[in-house]
């Protein structure tokens, strides 16, 4: 192994074949405070993610308790960063049933194994602001203490609530392990190819008629910074991670230079189902609720505890727009049109000679 500081820590990162976890692993490898990074994922890393995993000890395995116990016995793990939480069912990997299995049962097994590791000091868990749900009866801004009024409709949101429940239970049994739960707003950034980025780069973007939900994003790089700090520093507790401020859906679509096409709310679930069938768009029920009612969280606790403020929602989104090709209604084109119209009007008025008013 490479040289490291004598008291360097060993970190286990789950879900490491996916973008966010892989990039976290890469950052931890580069951190002198970290001696070893162990990556765990049932699937082999894709070509896109592979370059991030140099220096990471990879284990291709499901989150099975027996395997995990063996892994913990062989390696002296200090910190577990649990990022193997899927946000959407993958039709090639077993769909919703497999997603729930991985998210909920996987977390249960991981925590069961963690409980038997006396050395373990820290647990960092990726959660989501989807845990708050989205409805018209909710307060405008969610703080970490806000309980969701209704059980969220979507699978992912329910998984997240279950995962957080297990983490709380684990915390009661292992009071010596510091648990950090990070509720992330949807990620956006230059590189990430997510459903969200695909949505905002459609030529015509479907929205809900008569609704302009408030949205928040977090830049993927800032999310990584928070994850990294949670691993190497001590920040126990639950934190919302989002960019300050909001963009409304229509505002975001306009900034991306696209055109919104409002769809009637009663037919929304049907339209979503058809879009899914045609593989145009794949949105789950909780995301539909988000696009009707919006969701904004308070990040005061994060900024205070971590001494770090993610770039604002608007900045993160504008960076994403700059990294992708501008749509037909881009800012520069509209500015040009504005100048042109103003010139035309001035010319017309000058030629009429009627400058007295």
């Amino acid at each position: 192994m490479s040289e490291s500081t004598p008291d360097g820590i060993t970190v286990l990162v789950t879900g490491v074949s996916r973008y966010l976890a892989a990039r976290l692993a890469a950052r931890l490898v580069a951190d002198p405070a970290v001696e070893r990074v162990i990556g765990l994922d049932p699937a082999a890393p894709s070509a896109e993610v592979e370059p991030y995993l140099t220096g990471v000890e990879l284990y291709e395995s499901e989150l099975r308790t027996a395997d995990l116990i063996r892994l913990f016995a062989r390696n002296e793990v200090d910190v577990v960063a649990h990022l193997a939480i899927s946000t959407a069912p993958d039709p090639n990997r077993g769909g919703r049933a497999a997603m729930k299995e991985a998210n909920v049962i996987g977390t249960m097994r991981l925590l069961a194994a963690c409980q038997q590791v006396p050395r373990l000091r820290k647990l960092v868990v990726r959660s989501s602001t989807a845990a708050y749900g989205a409805s018209f009866r909710d307060p405008a801004v969610f703080t970490e203490g806000t309980e969701p009024r209704d059980l969220p409709r979507g699978g992912f949101a329910r998984d997240v609530l279950d995962v957080e429940d297990y983490v709380r239970g684990f915390g009661r049994r292992r009071k010596d392990v510091r648990a950090t739960v990070l509720r992330f707003a949807p990620f956006i950034g230059q590189q990430t190819d997510t459903r969200l980025s695909r949505y905002f780069t459609m030529p015509l973007v479907p929205t809900v008629l008569g609704r302009d939900p408030r949205l928040q994003f977090v830049h993927a790089d800032d999310a990584l910074e928070v994850l990294h700090r949670s691993v190497v520093e001590d920040h126990p507790g639950t934190y919302n991670v989002a960019g300050r401020g909001v963009l409304t859906l229509n505002q975001a679509i306009r900034r991306a230079g696209r055109l919104a096409v409002p769809v009637l709310e009663p037919g929304l679930s049907g339209v979503a189902a058809v879009a899914k069938q045609w593989r145009v768009l794949d949105f789950s029920l909780d995301q539909l609720d988000l696009f009707v009612h919006g969701r904004v969280v308070d990040t005061e606790a994060l900024v205070k505890e971590f001494g770090f403020e993610p770039r604002s929602t608007a900045e993160a989104f504008d960076e994403f727009v700059r990294a992708h090709d501008a749509g037909p209604m881009s800012g520069s084109r509209l500015r040009f049109a504005e100048k042109l119209i103003l010139e035309r009007i001035r010319q017309a008025r000058a030629s009429l000679g009627g400058d007295d008013d």
Binding site: P139, R211, R214, M329
Partner: protein, 286 residues
């Protein structure tokens, strides 16, 4: 080459055209700010307020007194009577605050408003949010003026025969929110809304069918169809009362005795002022 307007004298129309075009471009490119509650200042100042001003000034001939009672900065809770079948008094109160001061009134609305498409979008963009303790306290803590109508649907949905008689004030949630944040309560009395849409009947079965708290019958609605939505041109008076300080009684925010006493005090003040305003305006359509 054609002549471009020369700088010798300011060209008013050129400025107006340029200003309008730049505002349109800002809208189309999403180049405006929306706060965490969804308040869109750009849209409110450029579209909503100009659209409502004729109704406020010419149609209702609104007269406002006691504006000096509104603090020029910091949070405050504006409490008003609610009437007039549709909550047009809330909208006019917000216009009054913006017209008479430099501030915006952030209204707290019933969840019915936020359930409905269209209306929910307009409400959020004009600065309103859901009437719940977390939102109210957050706005007051960050120094906003908020507007509440504790009578709720009991106020707007009461028959014309009970006009200007204040209804019950609910559980006094607004009082405890003010106590917790220590902001002053400003009682406001609004006269004129009752005659704008006088509710002379109610069809409960239709209301149930539509999921509404009541289905109003007015002298013009639904008989004249969409024309029945035009309010009658009543004369409006709005009076802002003396602020009631709550900072000194902070800490008792959960004591029901304190809450009910304070709520009653606010209610009495509004009711008394309503009677005084009505004496000043003997003819509702003067």
């Amino acid at each position: 080459m054609t002549e471009v307007p020369e700088p010798r004298k300011p060209d008013v129309w050129d400025e107006r055209v340029a200003g309008f075009l730049s505002a349109v471009r800002q809208r189309l490119t999403g180049d405006y700010e929306v706060d965490e509650f969804g308040f869109d200042k750009h849209l409110t100042d450029n579209v909503f307020l100009p659209a409502l001003k004729p109704l406020y000034k010419t149609w209702f001939r609104t007269e406002v007194t006691g504006v000096e009672n509104l603090p020029t900065e910091g949070g405050a809770l504006v409490v008003a009577n609610h009437s007039g079948t549709v909550a047009i008094d809330a909208v006019m109160l917000a216009v009054a605050v913006r017209e008479e001061t430099e501030r915006y009134l952030r209204l707290l609305g019933a969840d019915l408003v936020f359930r409905m498409p269209g209306l929910s979008e307009l409400a959020r963009k004009s600065g309103a949010t859901l009437a719940c303790a977390p939102d109210a306290e957050r706005l007051m803590r960050t120094g906003h003026l908020i507007g509440v109508f504790p009578e709720g649907f009991k106020g707007v949905g009461k028959p014309f025969s009970e006009r200007y008689r204040l209804q019950r004030f609910g559980r006094g949630g607004f009082v405890s929110a003010a106590l917790r944040t220590g902001v002053p309560i400003i009682p406001v009395s609004i006269v004129g809304a009752e005659e704008a849409y006088p509710m002379i009947g109610n069809v409960p079965s239709l209301a149930r069918l539509l999921g509404l708290p009541y289905f109003p019958i007015t002298p013009t609605f639904p008989w004249l169809g969409p024309l029945g939505l035009v309010p009658l041109p009543s004369k409006w008076l709005i009076e802002f009362g003396k602020p009631i300080e709550t900072a000194s009684i902070e800490g008792d925010a959960d004591d029901p005795m304190v809450i009910f006493n304070l709520a009653d005090q606010v209610r009495e003040t509004i009711q008394q002022t309503l009677y005084e305003l009505l004496e000043r305006r003997p003819d509702p359509f003067s």
